[in-house]
């Protein structure tokens, strides 16, 4: 029965939809942008999370890692006997450098032992190409895929390593992936550099022979029993390993690859859990606004239907159907685009992280959530507007439109001063303060979203500028396998091309303040440093304090310590002293969260001579090749990091996470900004078509009439711009908070270009709308619009 009721109404619905298709599409696009954004990021995040977990599970990623100096194989049993430990394995872990023809400086490599035959239970490898070790084979290695790909290495290729003081050739048996090196990061490096960092696995017997480690190991990896307490296990492991030179076991959470991967996924998550809801909320707000304004337009039709005896519910249902169609189209476009983009992104990240497989986790509940919210927002807007219209008595609702009573408002005195058409604009704007206000907010949200999306570029450039030209001014950093006496610095300084050489020291330590603690490296810096400097909170270069410790802002925040507080520092190397140090400076750093001490003070506290972990150098580019070539033959060198490549690695990292998400943010922000402005203009036109046509009939020119309509849009846009800027800055600030992790933080810096661009996009949308609307005003059918009474 209901269906037969609605036959003529359904026809009206279809005709109205066809008539308003452009506007309906603009609303649908806004819905689509919100939905796509949500499904894309949610789907991608869940896919990555599920894939990582499955990867860890299948390849037996260790729960705890414990490096030590040297222990006999029999010690493994003692670890396995610790309650809560399911199984433990000992292995040999060493560093070496590789002489690769593709790069001028030596590449750093981590070498791990792998059982000669069989596979370990912990940290198994995934073979992507080639084969496993041949029994009894000598000089065969497995090599990490990222490095192999960066250098185009294939199985059977040879590589030359400088290992334990000797150059040696190895043949690549296979190319592998490891759950331990999803994020392949050289020790001490901050960002992955696939060209310069390799992980290699060698048959255990061979590696033991090279390093005289037969029957011994220098690292324990273990799996815990489900539900075991990790901190207790770690404490026990440390106890057992202490006599063997254990430097402290790490839980999985502190394992470098996992830690960075988690950090990066957390950032993606922040991007994905903050931006889409904001976009979604804005889209829903616009949907709600557009729908309710559109239904308001139908006031007299609603009155008419009610006069005939249609119930409010029946009338509401008619409009609900209309809005549902638009929402459904938007939702479908959004869901399809979001699924497609989410998969695309997940595949991209799979390659970036070198996952051996990928689970797509585009779960049904995401779609249900997105659909429920979209339809609810549309329904609420429709229902509210229909109710408002239906609550009027039909006689009032049907009354011809002109009884719009323009109030003599407080602003009237200056409104009166305006010229005729301008007066109409102002009266109309103030007549509907809520509507004008909402439109204004809608437009300002467009500006705000754009600013908040685009400021990343500014912020990361500032970060790079601060980190790579103000803090790290060296061209390259040479680190040694073992700390070396300071006179080595002179050796480095006399190498070809070296203009300045500056020693530094890295000491592993646990910093503790109150109940907060942090395992990290303390960086020893020389007085008057020119290559690796500290910045104070105003970003001015300063010397490291001679006494006490300087904390980076983030570290101070983590520890909850401020200037003058005394923190406890457990050194985890050498004699392992425990130091009590006052915080004598807070230093601004955007990448990582370091702590600094004066190099001399640090060495004195360690009761060691003038030791250094490495040297920062400034190079004469003309001799740089000679310098690097020489390093390739220097056995004591663990790693050479070149600032330019570090910067490149950092940019790549940004590219891989922030920039890609941000690209979508920007696109969706543009869609939303354009959608808002276009809708605002179109709805105003529909609302006032009759009035404008009457004016034309009265002899107003096309331009005068356009001015009346577009003047209002222009006025609202102009008011919206500064509001949008304020909201945009607030959103950007929210971003900096949500992206504030150990890995890096972005400063709240917004360039005038960003402001300019954001405002321009919205202005362009307004101008575009104006042009389209102007055309429609030109085609306004004067006779028809006066004749029919809708």
């Amino acid at each position: 029965m209901v269906m037969t009721f609605f036959k003529p109404l359904d026809r009206k619905l279809i005709r109205d939809l066809m008539r308003m298709w452009a506007q309906a599409l603009a609303i649908a696009m806004v819905v689509a942008a919100g939905v796509a954004m949500y499904i894309m990021s949610e789907g991608m995040l869940r896919s990555l999370g599920d894939t990582r977990d499955a990867y860890y599970e299948r390849y037996g990623f260790a729960d705890v890692f414990a490096p030590l100096k040297r222990a006999p194989n029999s010690a493994v049993v003692r670890i396995e006997n610790i309650p809560g430990v399911r199984r433990a394995e000992g292995r040999i872990s060493k560093v070496a450098t590789l002489d690769m023809p593709g790069i001028r400086e030596p590449a750093q490599e981590k070498i791990l032992s792998y059982p000669d035959k069989d596979h370990p239970a912990i940290n198994r490898l995934y073979l992507t190409e080639g084969r496993w070790f041949r029994p009894g084979a000598r000089d065969e290695v497995l090599i990490s895929e990222a490095f192999a790909m960066a250098h185009g290495l294939k199985p059977r290729d040879k590589v030359t390593a400088l290992i334990n003081g000797r150059k040696r050739d190895f043949e690549i048996a296979g190319i592998v992936l490891s759950p331990e090196f999803i994020y392949a990061l050289a020790p001490g490096a901050m960002f992955p550099d696939d060209l310069r960092f390799a992980v290699m696995w060698m048959p255990r017997s061979m590696l033991a022979a090279i390093f005289n480690m037969e029957g011994a190991f220098n690292e324990i990896v273990l799996h815990m029993e489900p539900g075991a307490n990790r901190d207790q296990v770690i404490a026990k492991v440390d106890e057992v390993l202490d006599p063997y030179g254990g430097i402290g076991a790490l839980g999985r959470d502190r394992q470098i690859s996992h830690w960075y991967l988690s950090g990066e996924m957390e950032q993606l998550e922040n991007m994905g859990r903050v931006a889409p809801p904001i976009f979604f909320a804005v889209a829903m707000f616009l949907l709600n606004m557009a729908v309710s304004r559109w239904v308001e337009l139908e006031r007299s039709e609603i009155g008419l239907l009610k006069a005939f005896g249609y119930s409010t519910r029946a009338v509401a249902l008619h409009y609900v159907k209309f809005v549902m169609v638009i929402t459904a189209v938007g939702y479908l476009m959004g869901a399809i685009a979001g699924t497609w983009l989410g998969r695309g992104l997940a595949v991209m990240y799979q390659e970036f992280f070198h996952f051996p497989f990928l689970y797509f986790s585009m779960h049904g509940d995401m779609y249900v959530i997105a659909a429920s919210i979209s339809f609810a927002a549309a329904l609420i807007g429709t229902w509210h507007a229909v109710r408002t219209a239906a609550d009027l008595s039909p006689a009032v609702a049907m009354a011809p439109q002109p009884p719009t009573s323009y109030r003599r408002s407080k602003n009237d005195r200056w409104i009166k001063k305006a010229l005729g058409p301008t007066r109409m604009i102002l009266r109309h704007t103030f007549r509907w303060p809520v509507r004008s206000g909402l439109t204004c907010i809608g437009i300002s949200m467009g500006v705000a979203l754009l600013i908040s999306a685009m400021f990343f570029q500014d912020a990361t450039e500032t970060l790079i500028e601060t980190q790579f030209t103000m803090i790290e001014r060296q061209d390259a950093t040479v680190s040694f396998i073992e700390p070396k006496p300071q006179r080595v610095v002179e050796n480095v300084a006399s190498m070809p091309g070296v203009m300045v050489a500056e020693p530094y020291r890295y000491v592993p330590a646990t910093l503790r303040f109150g109940s907060n603690e942090r395992r990290m490296f303390i960086r020893g810096i020389v007085q008057g440093a020119t290559l690796n400097r500290l910045l104070d909170r105003d970003l001015k270069a300063v010397d490291v304090p001679k006494k006490g410790v300087a904390l980076s802002t983030k570290l101070a925040e983590i520890l909850g310590a401020g200037l003058g507080d005394v923190i406890e520092v457990d050194v985890r190397e050498g004699r392992k002293p425990t130091l009590l140090l006052p915080v004598t400076m807070i230093s601004e750093v955007y990448i990582a969260s370091p702590a600094y001490m004066d190099l001399k003070t640090l060495n004195r506290a360690l009761l060691e001579g003038d030791n250094t972990s490495g040297v920062h150098v400034m190079l004469d580019e003309a001799y740089a090749d000679d310098f690097y070539a020489m390093l390739k033959d220097t056995p004591s060198v663990a790693q050479v990091s070149v600032k330019e490549t570090m910067l490149q690695a950092f940019r790549n990292t940004l590219e891989e996470n922030i920039n890609i998400m941000n690209f979508f943010n920007t696109i969706f922000a543009v869609v939303i900004a354009v959608g808002v402005v276009y809708n605002a203009g179109r709805i105003s036109l529909s609302e006032r078509a009759r009035e404008l046509a009457s004016l034309r009939v009265l002899g107003f020119t096309r331009n005068e009439v356009s001015y009346i309509l577009l003047g209002e849009l222009g006025l609202l846009t102009l008011v919206a711009l500064p509001i949008g800027v304020v909201i945009g800055v607030a959103l950007a600030w929210l971003w900096t908070l949500s992206l504030d992790t150990d890995l890096y933080r972005i400063p709240l810096v917004i360039s005038s270009a960003t402001f300019g661009y954001s405002i321009s996009v919205v202005l362009a949308a307004a101008v575009g709308t104006a042009i389209i609307t102007q055309r429609q005003i030109a085609h306004l059918d004067l006779v028809a619009s006066l004749k029919t009474r809708e």
Binding site: F5, D16, S300, F308, P394, R407, T788
Partner: protein
């Protein structure tokens, strides 16, 4: 109920009764009294014409009697039930099941054709005639599939009348049904209304500015300034085709 009304040929049973009905519009500081306490009965099957200057409250009164609006004070009874006590739903049913309207401003749905505009009402009516027949009665069979914008003002008005009579209502309210029409079509339209009144016994109220139309009424009610100033009873009704203006 016990009001002494003159003996009527048609009926003494009132379909609609208004008791002290007033309507005050509040626009900002301004108060407009559109109706100032109107007492009135419309009897079963009679045809009443309302006359009065512009702004005298004719449309307001008709809207209140038709259940489109509520009075500021006073009561309206439909067959003894107090309409003014009806809730929204009951009022909706009253309009749907009993009242046919012709609006002063036609109020056609622009995106529906003439026939579909009539369908809008026949879809929910209890005992409607077909839309085609209704449009035939007002002489618009050849324009059924045109949209309002493609119709002349008079044609739109006739669609509005077809829409009102199509449901074969108990009460027919016509607000200036001939306002835009020439004599010939005006008479066609009035014939359609008169025929509905005569054949179905529909209580009919017509607002007009054309005094000649008053000749086809059983009673003529004159309004001025929101009050009934005179009620004229015609001893005999003229047929619409006998009217001349």
């Amino acid at each position: 109920m016990n009001k002494t009304s003159p003996e009527r040929a048609i009926s003494t049973i009132p379909t609609l009764e208004a008791r002290g009905v007033s309507k005050v519009y509040q626009t900002g500081a301004l108060e407009v009294t559109a109706l100032g306490g109107v007492d009135l009965s419309l009897f079963e099957g009679e045809l009443v014409v309302f006359l009065g200057p512009s702004g005298s409250g004719k449309s307001t009164l008709l809207n209140i009697l038709g259940g489109l609006d509520r009075p500021s004070a006073g009561a309206v009874y439909f067959r003894g039930d107090e309409l003014t006590q009806f809730d929204d739903h009951a009022l909706t049913l009253y309009r749907r099941d009993h009242v046919g309207f012709v609006f002063q401003f036609y109020n056609l749905v622009a995106s529906l054709t003439a026939r579909e505009n009539v369908d809008l009402v026949t879809e929910i009516a209890i005992n409607p005639m077909s839309s085609d027949d209704a449009l035939g009665v007002v002489g618009l069979s050849h324009r059924m599939d045109h949209f309002p914008a493609e119709l002349s003002g008079g044609e739109q008005q006739r669609v509005a009348i077809a829409r009102a009579i199509a449901k074969q209502p108990d009460i027919l309210m016509c607000d200036e049904p001939t306002g835009a029409l020439d004599i010939k079509t005006g008479i066609t339209v009035l014939q359609a209304i008169e025929q509905t009144n005569r054949e179905l016994g529909t209580t009919t109220a017509i607002i007009t500015h054309n005094a000649t139309v008053a000749n086809m009424a059983d009673r003529v009610i004159l309004l001025a300034d929101g009050h009934i100033i005179e009620v004229i009873e015609n001893s005999s009704r003229k047929r619409p085709e006998e009217l001349s203006w």
